[in-house]
Structure formats: C-alpha cells, structure tokens
Amino acid sequence: MKELDEATIRANLRRRAGGGPDPARLDHLSLLIARRLQQDPAQSWSFRRLVLAVPLQLRVGLAAAVVLAVSLVAVPLAGGPRASVPPTTAVSTAASTLVPSAVQVLSLAELQRVAALGDREPYAHQVVVANVDVVPPPAEAIPGCIPGCPGSVAASSPRISVYKPAADDDILRWTIPDQGVAGPVIVRIRGVNSLELVGAATVDPDHSVAWSVPSFVRAADELPRTMELRSNQFSVGPAFVVDGKLALGPGIFCAFQTQSTDRIAEFACGAVGWLAPTEVADPSAIIDGWSTRPADWARLQNGSYQNYAHGDDSSASPSDGAAVRGFYVVFPVLKYNASMCFQCDAGAVGIVYARLEPIATP
C-alpha cells in the first residue's frame, strides 16, 4: 500500500479546496442564495413548520388517508401505460418517492416477471424503466472476469444479471461503479433474467421520471461542464426520459459532405430531428416557418425521426412526417464542436437513444 502521510493528504485537500476563499466569489454566492430564498415560496416554509407541529401519528394517519383517497380515484381510471409505482419489496435505495406519471416504471416484482420472459416477444430487446438499484459484481469476482463481468439487480431472486451494453459507442460507456447505480434505471432486456444497463434515469425535482421538453432543456443547460477540458470534445450527460413530440425538420444538404464516424457528424448535414414541447400543436408548421429555432426545443441527431418516431407500433406510424408524441430516452449533449453542429445555436442538443413503449406485465 502506498505511503500516505498526513502532510500529503493535507496539501492535496487544500489544493482541492482552492486555497483561501475568494471574497468576490463568496459575495456572489451569498447573493445567489439570497435570490433563491426570495424565489422560495414563503408558504412552503410556513407549511412545513405547520406540518412539523402536528404529532407524528396524526401525520402518518393523514398521509395514509391521502394515499387511500388517491388510490380510490386513480385505480378505476387506470389503463394504457401503467403509472409509476414505488417498489413494494425491499429494494435497497431505489427512489421510493417517485411521483406517478404516464411513464411505465416497473417495480422489482414486475421486472422479475418481465425478465423471466426476456427471450421472447414482446419483451426481448425492449427498453424499460425500472425502479430498482443495480449492484456491481462481488469484489472477489472482478479479477477473473474483466471486462464484461455482470452486476445484478439488487434484491432480485432469481438473480437478474446486468451487463454493460453490447453497443459500446460514444453514448453507452457505462460501467457499474463500486457503489452501484441507484434507481430508477433504464435497461434493455437482452434475454432471460439478463439486462443491459442503458443508464440511471434522471429524476426531476418533483420526483418524476418524465421530463417535459422545456424542463429537460433547462436541466441540460445546468449540467456541469467543468470536467470537460477540451473545448470541442463531444460528450454527453446522463439519460433523461423526455415527454415530447419528435418532429422532422427540413434536411440540410451539403454538396461536399465528408464521411465521418464521429458522433458530431450526426448533427451536420442530414435530416434534422427536433423534440418539441407537447403543448405545441403542430411542430412541423413552426419548423417550416421559423426564422430562429425556439429556445425550449431540443435539437436531436439527424435521422432520429426516421429511427425513433415510429416505435414498434405500426398503427402509430406517421405517414406524412407529422410529429409523434412519446417518451424518448435522451442523452443531452454537453460539449460539441459548434462549427459542425448545425442549428445548435439555442436550446438543448440531445441524442435520442430509444422510444419507450408500454409493455404488458405478465
């Protein structure tokens, strides 16, 4: 084991902490906090104080009554895609407070049943969201099985193996870190009790898996980019499930386009894809007439409409290039070479990885 004296630890930690605090930065930070406090609704503070003043037993009783009331209203209306449900079994740390939405989020029990049929239709190769954690393989197994040693779904029985995606491209370079991956996670079913990890699903501040397009655009804008040290390095952020309309833009024709396998080439010449907010009635009409792109839309890789808008349901396939609403798995692009990314000037840039289709749970 390397020698690690206190002086080395101290010096390195002080380096990380940036030496003495910069007064201007701290003033700015205090100002930002004050602004956020002003925007914070005062009633939330009062409400919380009020809630905390209520005895615990009464709070538990009230919560149970609210849950019961919501269930009585929601259950008869259930249909189509299933609502998100928190796991009913003891799953280590997967988010247990997900807000129900129209995105289908499988519980551990549901994932177990689906994964057991993972080699047959309609489950094989499906991309699903599950509210489970993924744990790495046991430490003692690592030396013998790198690369490709599978992790597993926490608390699964029988064990559901979780592999690194076979398609190891610019987007999917997941490995399972030592601390595991906290749910909800996005996985592709690859066989019986066998999954590929697409990534952890980013949960929005309201504990919902599904992001609206404008909220996705804002979140992508706020993702840290400081780890990128090369200004033109193409890189992506975490996976988001975005509720939006996938629309086809006019093709960008380049007379002397050079072939490239670089991801950024997908944002140059070709059939541009757009993800528009669901409130936009006819995105195509706007695209055809715009002078500048709306800032709350996301620019997607070329060909995304052709590859993902149709999904597996042929009855939903548009024949006229009309925008298609759906839940799309999108990776925000954080850094790119701007000169190669056409119409990326405002709003977010993203790569669609999959369209989520609701599946019947056995």
Binding site: M1, K2, E6, T8, A11, G199, P224, P238
Partner: protein, 181 residues
C-alpha cells in the same frame, strides 16, 4: 456560530438567515469544493445546502447543534450533486493538461513536492471515497480542525472520529493502489 441568528432564522426571520449565510458560506463552500473537486459543483451544492437549511429549519431541535446539522445538509447536498452528475462522462486528461494541473497545484501548495507527485492520482482515489469519508478528511486535514471539534461538527465521539479517520485513510491508500484508466 451565532446563536441569536440561528434562533431568529429558526423563527422564520429571513434577514437573520441571510446574515447566517454570509457567516457560514466560506466554510460550506470550501468543504463542498474539497468534496466535489470543482467550483461549479461546489457552488451548486452550497446553494442547495443553504436552501435546504432554510426549508428544514423547523426540524432543527437544538440550535446548539446547528453546525452539525448544517454539516449533514452540506454532505447531502454534495451527495445529490454527485448523483446528478454521475452520468457525465469524464474525459481522461491528456498529458499536457495533466502537466498543467500539476503545475497549478504546485504553485498553490505550501508543500509542492507532496502535491506534484500525486495530484491526479490523489483526486481519483479521493473521489472513490464516500461523501462522508471525504467530509471527514476535509474537516480534519484541509481545515486542520482538532478532533474534538470534528466530533462536535459530526455529532460523534472523538474515539469514533479517530477510528473513522483511520478507515478513511486506509480507503484512500487503497484507492491510490487501484490501476488508473
């Protein structure tokens, strides 16, 4: 800690809370920066921590324990920040950039030799630790606080501080042994 400000903020006095922020922001930011390793994340975690503190003030039972309470909120904010950025792919440093980092570190250090040797390796190893371990090492070494004070801030006994420090250092040493790449 200014007990009067804490009491006033607890009653919902926003001005008092903002005064409290101004007094504590340096320490919170410094801790977050050491834990997270970059300024943007540290600023975000610092803001989230104070906002969380404001919202959670009614749950602070004992104002005397404000420091420990705030410390836990800071650690949670750092944890959330790490969780949000976990999918961001890190680009390996190339040789030039690595050299620049080491050079910058060397300039800032009181003990250049100690840092220049292991700046990048140290960061990788440190970032493999849990947020709690990072906080403990930061309080004890970066801030040079006596163990008694660390124990008070973390609400644990001095003996526990010692044993956890020992484990954290061992974990850090193990992290240094792991192959990079």
């Amino acid at each position: 800690m200014n007990r009067e400000l804490v009491e006033a903020a607890r009653r919902g006095d926003r001005d008092a809370f903002e005064a409290l922020v101004r007094g504590e922001v340096a320490g919170v930011y410094r801790t977050a920066l050491a834990i997270l390793g970059n300024a943007a994340d540290a600023e975000e975690a610092t803001q989230d921590a104070f906002l969380g503190a404001w919202r959670g003030f009614p749950s602070l039972r004992d104002p005397e324990r404000f420091d420990a309470w705030l410390g836990r909120i800071v650690v949670n904010a750092c944890r959330m920040t790490l969780r949000r950025r976990r999918g961001v792919r890190e680009i390996a440093l190339d040789a030039d950039v690595a050299a620049a980092v080491v050079e910058r570190a060397t300039e800032a250090s009181a003990d250049p030799a100690a840092i220049a040797i292991d700046a990048l390796t140290f960061d990788r190893a440190f970032e493999s630790l849990s947020v709690d371990e990072r906080q403990l090492l930061t309080l004890a070494y970066a801030d040079d606080r006596p163990l008694e004070e660390v124990g008070r801030l973390l609400d644990i006994a001095v003996g526990t501080v010692k044993s956890r420090l020992s484990r954290a250092r061992a974990a850090l040493a193990r992290g240094l042994e792991r192959p990079t790449g």
